[in-house]
């Protein structure tokens, strides 16, 4: 039993942290003033977009652990590029369908794809869907992937985002969200590769959960680090506000909550490729339920520590809160996941 990162994983963490750190948002105005295409290129060049492509044996180049390491760094930096949407979720779908060449293009950074989620953002859209769908994390993507039912089982389909989609006002300022209100003409769906097995779908969901959890763990940890740094330099009443026990305990409680979420997330990330799909999924639900249970509180605590300035639009604090809120929702909110856990736990009664 050893739950620590290997040396290689530790190196990956440093590389990802460096890119995310230099690319990370310092304040909301960076969203429009910086060159995010360059960030995407450096992710591609470092091979970070290729983690879920397959090697000669058909195994993913990087396991769920590697994905989580990079996703956490992206969350920590609030990096507004579609790392989860394109490099993880879409790439994994393409590889599961055997469309390795398409996946390779995403990994090179020359093309981007996103995913289509159902109306409550709780999972992949599955056609024939009768109404609203969202393209999530689709910045720069020309198309998004979803599922369609077929006699051979569910298949991956691609949908062009060029028609029928309008920008939605996402709470999360760092991920592009599109909306399609009406039913999508089946003629616009292009089937990709081979049908997926039930196990494929379970593993994909486990990966999605672990990746989103790692993202929000990064969001929480870096938000808290900023609040703590502020508490060490902000003076009121002639002393550093971080010397007030009230501030210390608020930070300590948020720290415990975030670290607990991180512990559950590490396990879920490892489980993606190491455990059987049902156990991996239970680990994912558990991690996500924990993350969703604490992310709003932790980022609200951060805004509170920042005081008045932390309430302003120009400040970075609410960008953390916004990404945390959306991360908490996608692929199932706390309520939804607790009910799934209950279905597993409480059947024997």
């Amino acid at each position: 039993m050893l739950t620590l990162l290997t040396d290689e994983q530790q190196m990956l963490k440093e590389v990802a942290g460096e890119i995310a750190g230099s690319a990370g948002l310092a304040n909301p105005s960076d969203l429009t003033s910086r060159n995010w295409a360059a960030t995407w290129q450096s992710l591609a060049q470092s091979g970070l977009l290729a983690l879920r492509t397959r090697d000669e044996d058909g195994s993913p180049v990087g396991s769920g652990v590697e994905v989580a390491v990079v996703a956490e760094a992206m969350g920590a930096g609030l990096v507004p590029v579609p790392y989860l949407g394109s490099a993880i979720l879409a790439t994994e779908l393409l590889c599961l369908a055997g469309a390795d060449d398409d996946a390779a293009r995403l990994a090179e950074g020359t093309a981007r794809a996103g995913v289509l989620l159902n109306r409550d953002l709780s999972g992949l859209a599955r056609f024939p869907a009768d109404g609203m769908v969202y393209g999530w994390d689709v910045d720069g993507a020309e198309e998004a992937l979803a599922l369609t039912d077929s006699p051979e089982g569910p298949r991956v389909v691609r949908v062009s985002l060029a028609d029928g989609f309008v920008p939605a006002v996402s709470a999360d300022l760092t991920r592009r969200l599109l909306r399609s209100d009406g039913p999508i003409d089946p003629a616009r769906l292009t089937t990709v590769g081979r049908p997926l097995t039930p196990e494929d779908l379970l593993r994909w969901e486990a990966l999605a959960l672990a990746a989103v959890c790692a993202d929000v763990v990064g969001v929480m940890r870096s938000a808290l680090a900023k609040a703590i740094a502020y508490a060490k330099e902000r003076v009121q009443y002639g002393v550093l506000i971080g010397s007030f026990q009230a501030i210390q305990h608020m930070c300590a409680e948020a720290y415990v909550a975030a670290e607990a979420a991180a512990s559950a997330t590490s396990y879920a990330a490892w489980a993606v490729d190491a455990l059987d799909p049902a156990d991996a999924l239970l680990a994912g639900w558990t991690a996500k339920a924990q993350c969703a249970a604490v992310a709003r509180d932790v980022t609200e605590t951060v805004m509170q520590v920042f005081g008045g300035i932390g309430q302003t639009y120009e400040h970075i604090a609410h960008v953390h809160t916004r990404r945390a809120l959306m991360d908490s929702l996608v692929f199932g909110d706390e309520n939804a996941l607790l009910l799934r856990i209950a279905d597993v736990r409480l059947t024997g009664e």
Partner: protein, 375 residues
């Protein structure tokens, strides 16, 4: 003990209700243009004034009606219930003026304050002096018969729409920090004053910062004696959100009704869990209302404002923020994808309730003092 109106109060309330029904401008809350909205609020101030509804609890000698603060509370409550435009917030500025001003100042400033001909803001907080107000750095240097003001004020609510400002500035840097502050009555239209809106996380411009560059204020516009600024500030602050300012309770109830409708639309009313959450929000609102009524009674019976206001402030912040959490939990993806207009903005607007006007931590410190816990 009687929670009901006295006959006089009931009569006042009935007249007011009728008057409001007759006078509330139709569609006022649909106005989107900011200038139009400002004009509406100013106009409403004048309309209220002409009907005698401004300064209900001010002394008669200063243009008020000398009534108990219960009448202010009734005005707040009914305005909230009938969704009238926001009431003008003249009480705390007025209190500062009629407590500390010279006779000449009173005659000059009080009538237009009451009537709405001049709009006021409060220039207290600064970037480096939020909770710790006494650390303020804006300076007012005496130069002949003027003070010259330099500095930056922040969280100046209504700064964008104000004509005048009750300004705190440091007139003596060489004495302990609470003793070197003076208060001024100053026009924000003077040269050297720059007002910049502050946009909060919701995306709305809720407040403003005000920059002061060599602004000259005649000595006779100083309020009170030199160095009396801290005392004036404390009086003002303690009346800033008095127990009669209970408009937020009616607003809370209106929001709760909306949240109940959201839950109904989503078919959640069948589920005991959501029924309980909605009932809990009702209980929180009731508890807040009843605690505020007790405070008001205490004030009416002659006790000066005290730290029990901190209890209500904490209850309010908790109720307001919990209600926005509940709305978010009900709306789910709709709130976060822009499909439920206004709710995400309301959520972010609820966050500073535990920061502005004394953070939750400061309120708890005040209560600890009241409980006589050691420093």
């Amino acid at each position: 003990m009687d929670y009901r109106d006295t006959p006089e109060e009931a009569g006042f309330r009935a007249d007011l209700r009728q008057w409001l029904a007759d006078h509330i401008p139709a569609g006022w809350d649909k106005i989107e243009d900011e200038q139009e909205a400002v004009a509406l609020r100013k106009g409403w101030h004048r309309t209220l004034y002409q009907a005698g509804y401004v300064g209900l609890s001010w002394p008669v000698e200063y243009g008020g009606r000398g009534l108990s603060p219960v009448y202010d509370a009734i005005l707040n409550e009914e305005s909230g219930n009938l969704n009238a435009p926001p009431l003008p917030s003249v009480g705390y500025i007025g209190r500062a003026i009629f407590t500390y001003a010279s006779e000449e100042q009173k005659q000059r400033f009080l009538p237009p304050l009451l009537s709405g001909d001049t709009q006021w803001c409060q220039g207290f907080s600064e970037p480096e002096a939020g909770s710790d107000l006494a650390s303020l750095r804006t300076s007012a240097r005496l130069d002949g018969d003027h003070y010259v003001v330099n500095g930056q004020k922040m969280w100046t609510s209504g700064g964008q729409y104000a004509d005048w400002c009750l300004l705190l500035a440091r007139t003596d840097p060489d004495v302990p920090k609470h003793k070197g502050i003076s208060a001024f009555l100053v026009s924000v239209k003077e040269p050297g004053v720059t007002v910049r809106p502050i946009v909060i996380a919701s995306g709305e411009a809720e407040t403003a910062e005000v920059f002061w560059d060599d602004v000259r204020i005649p000595v006779h516009q100083r309020l009170g004696a030199p160095g009396e600024g801290w005392r004036i500030a404390m009086t003002t602050v303690s009346y800033e959100r008095g127990p009669a300012d209970i408009g937020f309770i009616a607003a809370y109830r209106r929001t709760l009704r909306k949240v109940e409708h959201l839950a109904a639309e989503r078919g959640l009313l069948e589920q005991p869990e959501w029924r309980k959450k909605l009932a809990r929000a009702y209980v929180q609102g009731e508890v807040l209302r009843l605690n505020c009524m007790e405070q008001l009674s205490s004030r009416v019976s002659g006790r000066p404002p005290g730290p029990e206001g901190s209890v209500a402030k904490l209850l309010w912040a908790d109720a307001e923020q919990s209600l926005q959490h509940l709305a978010m939990d009900i709306l789910g993806a709709d709130e976060l994808t822009g499909s439920a207009e206004g709710w995400l903005s309301s959520y972010f607007t609820s966050r500073p309730v535990s920061v502005y006007g004394g953070s939750a931590q400061i309120q708890k410190n005040i209560i600890a003092r009241m409980l006589d816990l050691p420093r």
